[in-house]
């Protein structure tokens, strides 16, 4: 298959050998599980269980709210121990509403399932099943998958691209998943394809995963419309737009959805979750997590229940070799630092990476020497140094003019910067400030609109009252006149007619 090249990109050291050859192991069920109600982009789910309630594995814990949301299910059977605030897996360390489950160790499912044939289902039924199972994008973006499946209603989708690039260093969870469960992944891919009505499927796998590539090729051998493609190992190959460009040569227009050009991208782990959800009716209650980094004693790939605390994964991997300097959720290029290891695993947690002090010696930023390494590295064709200097001095409009909103925050620029300038931090800061500004502005116009509406309403009411009063006055005068006319029958007819027309007018106003 013909591949296309995207500009820029970097080649960070893969570090994948540490865990690539470790088979997926199931982590023993922990005693307590901490399940946050928000693990996805969109509105948080609303708890449906009460403290003290006995629950079974797969039972709905919190239902989704609104159009973009996802429900949360019980990862194992046990008792709802508490519904409280618990530190979120986010750099801020802020608390988020969390359902704490004390497991009974029996891991009893709520239902026994008879597998169904997904290809007999309609697209609607598939997307309802996927939505009900709480499946979200497992590559880290955690966008509710059902919402993406529903895009077929508004766009005609011809190609499904499966993102199996796994371009982040250290991470091997998708690699292992494809090696060990190729058939199931391909089944999930076919279900998504069926739901979208896409003519063809392209699975992009970076060429550093040759075993996964072979396994997937074998699993998909019977399906002519599924192409397993080897893509070059280059970060950020796993960026949706860049993968699309690599395998199709098409460029997703700025600020548009890939669906606009008839393409939808799903992550390979999402396909696996869809397979379980649709074929077996199993909700998303576990995921595969790579635990690695030079501060981890025995890097591994673990299948973990959602809500398991990071510390338990680390303990299972032999603990820390040395006390880590940074603990990351996700890969080292785009992952987020965790404030501590008591935070739970969520649906989007592809990896737990513990980096030692040597690996991430904090270095002071030096002045930019305009070496343009960032310009060469930027896969989005931007001038990161200019955007950063504008953001630094608070000129957000200037940063916008240099294309801030086209930045995907992949971090290639900061990775190559010889001056250690935290470019991504500047961009995130500028984006945040712009969002705030927009929100304030929106609020102000909204307030103004409401105030104006209120003034107009009061004005209308006042006018209506005045008119009503005038009408009443006129009516009374007419009645008086009618009475007088009754005494003098000669004038009668014309005044009665006037009276009726006045009454009709009043009715119209009150209506």
């Amino acid at each position: 298959m013909r591949l296309f090249k995207f500009r820029g990109g970097v080649h960070p050291d893969g570090h994948k050998q540490a865990s690539a050859n470790k088979a997926i192991e199931s982590l023993p069920i922990p005693e307590y599980l901490y399940v946050p109600v928000q693990q996805h982009i969109g509105a948080p789910a609303e708890p449906e269980v009460c403290v003290g309630e006995n629950i079974l594995k797969g039972q709905l814990l919190a239902h989704s709210q609104g159009n973009v949301s996802a429900p949360v299910h019980a990862p194992t059977s046990g008792v709802v121990h508490a519904i409280e605030n618990h530190t979120a897996p986010h750099p801020s360390g802020l608390p988020v509403k969390t359902i704490v489950i004390k497991s009974d160790g029996e891991d009893r499912w709520i239902n026994t399932v008879t597998p169904i044939d997904p290809f007999q289902l309609s697209a609607e039924e598939i997307s309802i099943r996927v939505g009900a199972a709480g499946v979200v994008g497992m590559g880290g973006a955690t966008f509710p998958s059902a919402v993406k499946l529903n895009l077929r209603n508004r766009y005609s989708i011809h190609t499904l691209v499966i993102n199996a690039a796994e371009c982040e260093p250290y991470l091997t969870c998708d690699d292992r998943l494809m090696r060990e469960r190729g058939q199931q992944v391909v089944d999930g891919i076919r279900i998504i394809q069926h739901a979208l009505g896409a003519e063809k499927v392209i699975v992009g796998i970076e060429d550093n995963k040759s075993i996964a590539l072979a396994e997937m090729t074998a699993s998909a051998a019977n399906y002519d419309d599924i192409t397993i493609t080897k893509v070059p190992t280059r970060y950020p190959m796993g960026s949706e737009k860049h993968l699309i460009q690599t395998v199709t040569g098409k460029e997703v227009p700025a600020r548009a959805l890939s669906a606009d050009i008839g393409i939808i991208v799903h992550n390979v782990a999402t396909a696996h979750a869809v397979h379980r959800a649709v074929r077996y009716g199993r909700p998303l209650v576990s995921r595969i997590v790579t635990v690695s980094g030079d501060a981890i004693r025995e890097p591994r790939n673990l299948e973990v229940l959602i809500g398991t605390r990071v510390s338990e994964l680390v303990a299972y991997c032999g603990g820390y070799k040395e006390s880590p300097s940074r603990l990351l959720m996700g890969g080292p290029m785009m992952g987020q630092t965790l404030p501590r290891d008591e935070v739970p695993i969520v649906k989007g947690a592809s990896g737990i990476i513990a980096l030692s002090t040597q690996q991430v010696a904090e270095q002071l930023a030096r002045p930019c020497i305009r070496c343009a390494s960032c310009v060469t590295a930027c896969p989005c064709g931007l001038l990161p140094l200019e955007m950063a200097s504008r953001s630094k001095k608070g000129d957000f409009q200037g940063a916008l003019d240099y294309g801030l909103m086209d930045c995907v925050a992949c971090g290639s620029c900061a990775y190559v910067c010889p001056s250690n300038i935290p470019l991504v931090q500047y961009f995130n800061y500028a984006k945040g400030e712009l969002t705030n500004k927009q929100r304030t502005q929106h609020k102000a116009t909204e307030t103004k609109r409401l105030a104006e509406q209120r003034i107009a309403r009061l004005e209308r009411e006042k006018q209506a009252k005045a008119e009503a009063a005038a009408k009443r006055k006129a009516q009374k005068a007419a009645e008086r006149a009618a009475k007088a006319a009754a005494k003098e029958p000669a004038k009668g007819k014309s005044e009665i007619a006037q009276n009726t027309s006045g009454q009709t007018a009043e009715k119209e106003i009150s209506a």
Partner: protein, 334 residues
């Protein structure tokens, strides 16, 4: 686990490792053969001039940092490069006191006044040299011959001239190939130019070594090859055109390419990252501009050499090139 030591940091959490000091150090490595050759060709005069140039630059930077209560930036190697390059552009028998003044001007007015490393609009070394050219035109255009017999045992009389007095020159003065061409229509053998068997500024004579240093940096991805290529291409095309039109008046392309400071300027001065454009296309345009200016100044100017002014002018244009030449962001092509 000790909770206090966990860093909260923006992604990415790994870096490619090549820091500013590594890049700068490699530029110094690339310059070392040129430095060695200049000492071999001009002897003690070269050694003393280069030492004076580097020292004056380093000390100026250090004192200015101290004076403005900043941490000294001497250890990022960038000022060492300024010092070496500045030294390499000087005539071998320049009085040391002039060398020292030029170094102070280079770092203070060429770099520090704009905000230090990363903010200099012009190549600081050339600012220093341009000042000397304006202040001491005679001293800056008097050249001693290379490979003098006594070069390792004695210094030229002019080198140790007392500050603020005019230098006395030995009889052994040599014309540079460019001056010989301009004023006497006397060409120099191309092989001599390549191997540096001519007179000239300290570091500009041996084209081969300069090319090798530049290739080393290009191979290590520490220099944008489009700048020297843009310069060479324009110089070759323009000078070939003029030479074709009037071979008696205008020198051929090979001579233009390997004589004077063109090689040194194209490889090590025009490529100053701060003062050159950031896009690849911009670098080509910038190189072409330098090449054009060099040819114009050399062929019609009052001076035999024009590389310095060509680069300084192009430095001034560089931010404007960056403003107009910008890549199309992803998703905006249609």
């Amino acid at each position: 686990m000790d909770k206090k030591i966990l860093q909260i940091h923006s992604s990415p959490h790994i870096s490619s490792g090549a820091g500013v000091d590594v890049i700068m150090r490699n530029v110094v490595y690339a310059l070392l053969p040129v430095v060695a050759f200049s000492i071999y060709a001009f002897g003690l005069a070269a050694l003393f001039t280069l030492m004076a140039a580097v020292l004056s630059c380093l000390l100026t930077e250090h004192w200015l940092c101290k004076w403005s209560r900043q941490t000294t930036s001497v250890n990022d190697w960038s000022v060492a490069i300024t010092g070496i390059i500045y030294g390499l552009t000087l005539p071998p028998n320049l009085p040391l006191w002039m060398t020292l003044i030029g170094g102070v001007i280079a770092v203070s007015l060429g770099k520090f006044i704009f905000g230090g490393l990363g903010y200099n609009p012009f190549n600081p070394a050339l600012v220093g040299r341009a000042f000397l050219q304006a202040a001491f035109p005679t001293a800056m255009t008097t050249w001693s011959a290379a490979f003098g017999a006594q070069r390792f045992t004695s210094l030229p009389a002019s080198t140790l001239t007392f500050p603020l007095t005019s230098p006395q020159y030995d009889s052994l003065s040599g014309a540079t190939p460019l001056a010989a061409m301009k004023f006497n229509q006397q060409p120099t053998d191309a092989m001599d130019l390549l191997l540096g068997l001519t007179s000239g500024s300290l570091g500009e004579t041996c084209a081969v070594l300069i090319l090798l240093g530049g290739l080393y940096l290009i191979a290590r991805n520490m220099m944008n090859w489009r700048i020297p290529v843009g310069i060479f291409f324009t110089v070759i095309v323009l000078s070939a055109l003029f030479h074709f039109a009037n071979p008696h008046r205008y020198p051929d392309a090979v001579f233009m390419l390997f004589s004077g400071g063109l090689m040194l300027g194209a490889m090590f001065m025009a490529t100053d990252m701060v003062a050159s454009p950031i896009t690849n296309l911009g670098c080509f345009i910038y190189g072409a501009l330098i090449g054009t200016l060099v040819v114009i100044i050399r062929l019609w100017g009052g001076m035999p050499e024009g590389v310095m002014y060509a680069i300084l002018f192009a430095n001034a244009v560089s931010p404007h090139i960056d403003r107009f030449i910008q890549p199309t962001p992803f998703g905006h092509r249609s």
